[in-house]
């Protein structure tokens, strides 16, 4: 994608990841070079075991690459310490997971406030931000429900609200629709597309080609290498509430 340097939010240069499990060394990623500009919506696809999650964890500052440079918002995070990475996750990134990863004993609102607590935001401001984020994902009437009292789609929307509340530069998702039926998955994609429309950069892993077609660009990974990187030509636009997406 053509873009000037300032618009690049994520830049991976020669990223490699080697897992040492016992005597065995597993090369999960090798020489990954990717740039993602502000406002893009990128799907990462590939077969099982190809390294998608590994790449996502590096992108999400949850894990450090074994080699290479990762510039996030212009700063090299590949060699940052634990606490600095935590700060990057807190301020720069919103992460959504396949299994939602909500705290089971806390209400939707408390879950959404979580990143704001670690940012040092005052209680009242936090409540406001959480309320706004939950309203943005259409869950104003479920603020005080615990995750167990919510459907899978609702839980994922709480997770998205948690990611949004921190007003991140980039929204990252590892199979965010993986646990949802196709209708609910489409609803989630509609929400993510709307957020992207509003300017949020999105990078998400999916092995579902239909979900990938909701994105603007698809990066294919196989065996730890990037084997394809192309713009989506027949993009699907998800309609909230509609069972079937329509072609753009």
């Amino acid at each position: 994608m053509a873009s000037n340097g300032n618009d690049i939010v994520v830049r991976l240069k020669g990223i490699g990841k080697v897992y040492a499990s016992g005597a065995l060394q597993v090369t999960a990623l090798e020489d990954i070079n990717v740039e993602v500009a502000r406002g893009e919506m990128v799907a990462i696809t590939g077969p099982s075991g190809s390294g998608k999650s590994t790449l996502m964890n590096v992108l999400g500052c949850l894990d450090r690459p074994s080699s290479g440079v990762y510039e996030l918002g212009g700063r090299n995070v590949a060699r940052m310490g634990d606490d600095d990475l935590a700060a990057m996750r807190n301020r720069f990134l919103g992460f959504i997971f396949q299994n939602y990863n909500l705290l089971p004993l806390q209400s939707a609102q408390q879950n959404v406030e979580l990143p704001l607590i670690y940012r040092g935001m005052a209680r009242r401001a936090r409540h406001e931000a959480a309320r706004a984020a939950l309203a943005a994902v259409g869950l104003s009437d479920r603020m005080h429900h615990r995750p167990a009292e919510l459907s899978g789609g609702q839980q994922q929307r709480v997770a998205i609200a948690r990611a949004l509340a921190a007003q991140p530069e980039v929204l990252l998702g590892d199979e965010p629709t993986g646990n949802l039926d196709s209708r609910t998955g489409t609803e989630i994609m509609a929400l993510i597309q709307r957020l992207n429309e509003q300017g949020l950069t999105v990078i998400m892993v999916t092995h579902d080609p239909r979900i990938a077609r909701h994105c603007r660009r698809v990066v294919s990974v196989a065996d730890g290498h990037i084997v394809g990187d192309e713009q989506v030509t027949d993009r699907l636009i998800a309609q909230p509430g509609a069972a079937e997406p329509v072609s753009a």
Partner: protein, 390 residues
């Protein structure tokens, strides 16, 4: 995140599993309660003994003979010593032995003390009814007695005992007075379980020409040390050997007793302290389990940006809050327990603010020290590993 926030998080963790939190704190509750109650018993006992000793009368020096070594004291020794040693302001020979007193159909075994009219003043033991016998009675070997309260009760004497006649080992003796109650029995013989008589008459009843102890009084407490040394020298000279008699001043007695009871208190406190330590290990155990159980929670918190110290603070506050809460409940339990022990009557118990503060501080330190390791475990978890944890 500030301290209040860390505390709120910790409190949430405690409330999430109330029963387990209570059981975790129970070790500290029992530990703190035991420290406070047992130290209270130790201190109460010390206080009671000290009071009893102080009631002996001030500035008292007691000389004990050693009959088995041929060192036998006489009443003349008391008068002689007072004449020779200027610091002594009063003296009194004491002869004592077990006797049976009888009144009407009742009889009772007690201790007979043969003394002089100096007794009430030197022993701080006033007469409640009637009067003490006189120097004339001593001279005349009069069979007159002053009874302790316990003896009056045991003989079930009806009406005013003064003026009645009791028998002491078969000798008829007229009751001239009844002692005021001194009370208690802790750490020594019951001071009310006694019959007082002129030592001359007591010698006759007990069949001896000697006395057991000589009591002396110094005018000024500061002179007790020098008077003690002087008495020792005097009797060592008289009996021709060193350490012939045993000279004890009240000060010495007090310090001996004080060091004994301090050891006793320390021992009790140490035993209770061990249980507090065990309580601390219980906290560590549960917190370690909790960190493992909550690995996923820790992973989620880290994923959304919690730093190491956020998790360190959360878990440390949790263990510290548990132990401090346990400490507070333990204080209540300890004070309550000490009161119950005191009311049961067999022990004295005095809760001091010192032991309360000490026990609570110890509990807090235990919570922090034993919470530190689990909290560090939590803070060091790798977010990826933690998130994958099932």
């Amino acid at each position: 995140m500030n301290v209040a926030e860390a505390f709120r998080l910790a409190w949430g963790g405690i409330l999430a599993n109330k029963l387990r939190s209570f059981l975790t704190a129970l070790g500290v509750i029992i530990g703190v309660g035991a420290v406070i109650a047992l130290v209270a018993v130790g201190q109460g006992t010390t206080q009671a003994i000290t009071q009893r000793l102080s009631a002996l009368g001030s500035n008292l020096i007691i000389v004990f003979g050693a009959p088995n070594k041929g060192v036998r004291l006489t009443a003349a020794d008391a008068a002689n010593a007072q004449k020779q040693i200027p610091y002594l302001t009063a003296s009194m020979p004491v002869v004592s032995g077990g006797v049976t007193v009888a009144w009407q159909a009742q009889s009772y075994a007690t201790t007979l003390n043969g003394v002089t009219p100096n007794y009430p003043q030197m022993r701080n033991a006033p007469v409640a009814d009637g009067s003490f016998f006189t120097a004339q009675d001593v001279q005349n070997r009069s069979l007159v007695v002053v009874l302790g309260q316990t003896v009056v009760q045991q003989l079930q004497m009806t009406g005013n005992p003064v003026g009645q006649t009791v028998s002491v080992n078969g000798y008829p003796a007229q009751v001239v007075g009844v002692q005021a109650a001194i009370g208690g029995s802790t750490g020594g013989q019951n001071q009310d379980d006694i019959v007082l008589m002129p030592y001359t008459a007591a010698q006759r009843i007990l069949g001896t020409a000697y006395v057991n102890q000589l009591y002396f009084q110094v005018g000024n407490g500061n002179d007790a040390g020098i008077a003690t040394a002087w008495l020792q020298a005097l009797f060592d000279h008289q009996f021709g050997r060193s350490q012939s008699v045993n000279v004890l001043s009240q000060d010495q007695l007090l310090s001996t007793v004080a060091s004994t009871t301090a050891t006793f208190t320390l021992l009790l406190g140490a035993v209770a302290g061990v249980s507090l330590l065990v309580g601390g290990i219980g906290i560590m155990n549960i917190m370690l389990v909790s960190v493992i159980e909550r690995t996923r929670e820790i992973g989620i918190r880290k994923a959304v940006g919690a730093r190491r110290w956020h998790l360190l603070a959360q878990f440390l506050f949790e263990s510290a809050t548990l132990s401090c809460l346990g400490g507070l409940i333990g204080i209540a339990a300890g004070v309550f327990g000490a009161r119950a022990i005191a009311q049961s009557g067999s022990y004295h118990a005095v809760v001091t603010s010192g032991s309360v503060i000490l026990a609570f501080a110890f509990a807090a330190v235990v919570g922090i020290v034993f919470g530190l390791w689990p909290a560090m475990q939590a803070s060091r978890l790798d977010p990826i590993v933690a998130l994958r944890h099932e």
